[in-house]
Symmetry: C2
Subunit: 224 residues, 2 copies
DNA sequence: GGGCTTGTATCTGGATCCAATCTGTGGAAA
DNA sequence: TTTCCACAGATTGGATCCAGATACAAGCCC
């Protein structure tokens, strides 16, 4: 009907996955805010598909923690309060060190170089959006060696669910105290290079825990 | 087409949820084994519905870790190897203590009495299937006070994914060493009654960790 | 005879249409 | 004026039908 803007794009072959990818990106970037409703038909006609694959996509996103579904009432991006985000961060403090420990033995030299490359990009000074992306890439790269799908999926859910509030925090506070993140990342990276699991876990927990405490010190993030 | 056997049943109002509940029960009870495929049409006609709600149900179960979906290849119950189950147990060792700590402050006197009632049932001697159900109820009851959906959902996923291997273990080993479980449960329950979070966490971790080590000592569970 | 190709049956993915539920607005009665 | 109810538009859930992909088996070529 509308211009098939991406005629060339063969997609992944599955429409529902393309739709999920589109919505995922829009939610993570903040284009669709917490509390906002997602109507099936609107998405369907915007992407030139029927509502069926949209529903499948919404189920996928629900499993990723990016939307919540209520029977007969549709889908919306979850709006979390201060306490829920705090618990999600405490989950991160326990799960991500495990992912790191499981991953470490399988990280190659080139993996570590790639991680350091990401950190160098972060240190060159980037805006909030770019930082959020690079920070996520940094940590996910450190977990990439862990072979268990469920573990990676859990970590992804936690990052997804808290993404909006990380952004809100940085929008308000600016990039100030960025040096702390850099220091933490560098210490973590050094521990990985030394293959010191104990230190790596220590720095990672500290990194997440500090972020949690900073976030929960700013209640204005949770009341829009 | 076939006899509308449950014409009277209004269900929960949503067919996909009823279908999901049916499949969930059959998988958890071992009626559908790991590796087994689930065909949409077969389920649909057995429950007198079309394939659409079946697909929704499969997506729900996928989010719960009970099935895995592959594009154009359908759904099957995940078959895990020894290493995957070990990682899932290590996740349990980290996540469930958090759920317990978050839950404890909200557990009432009657909650604790109910938990003790479940433990008394376990101690009266039950078969494997009943034990699996009661053990799950016992622990879930201790987590019931934790108000965060994502935390409970994570715990549920971990129990779901490992359920089959717990059952396989008990089928082989018989109910021997049941006294250990009872002792651990009693110590945990006592710590909860004393409102001693530190002890509660200690006993819970020990309980899960011991189970993990017993399970991973029996590779025959994972090679059917 | 073995390996590759091809054809067909089976199954999943998606589109369209219909039914059931929710939401919001307007009006009537207290 | 406020509250409750009823009705209509909007939105989701489900059924049926069609298209595309996969899997398996028979047949062909080397």
């Amino acid at each position: 009907m509308d211009v098939m803007s991406s005629v060339v794009d063969p997609g992944t072959g599955a429409a529902s996955e393309r739709i999920a990818a589109d919505l995922r990106a829009r939610i993570l970037v903040g284009e669709i805010a917490p509390g906002e409703r997602i109507r099936q038909e609107e998405v369907a006609e915007r992407l030139g598909a029927s509502r069926i694959p949209v529903r499948e996509a919404l189920r996928m996103l629900s499993a990723e923690g990016l939307v919540e579904l209520e029977t007969n009432k549709g889908a919306r991006v979850p709006r979390l309060d201060e306490r829920e985000v705090e618990v999600l961060y405490r989950m991160r403090e326990r799960i991500e060190p495990l992912a790191l420990i499981q991953s470490m033995p399988h990280l190659s030299e080139s993996d570590l170089q790639r991680i350091e490359g990401i950190q160098e990009q972060i240190e060159q000074g980037v805006d909030v959006t770019a930082f959020l992306t690079l920070d996520r890439e940094f940590h996910m790269a450190t977990y990439a060696g862990c072979a268990t799908d469920q573990l990676l999926a859990s970590v992804t859910r936690l990052w997804n669910s808290t993404q909006h509030y990380r952004r809100a925090f940085m929008m308000i506070n600016g990039p100030g105290r960025q040096w702390i993140v850099n220091a933490e990342h560098r210490l973590l990276l050094d521990a990985l290079t030394r293959n010191d699991a104990e230190d790596a876990e220590r720095y990672l927990v500290g990194h997440i825990r500090r972020t949690r405490m900073e976030l929960t010190k700013h209640p204005e993030i949770f009341t829009p």
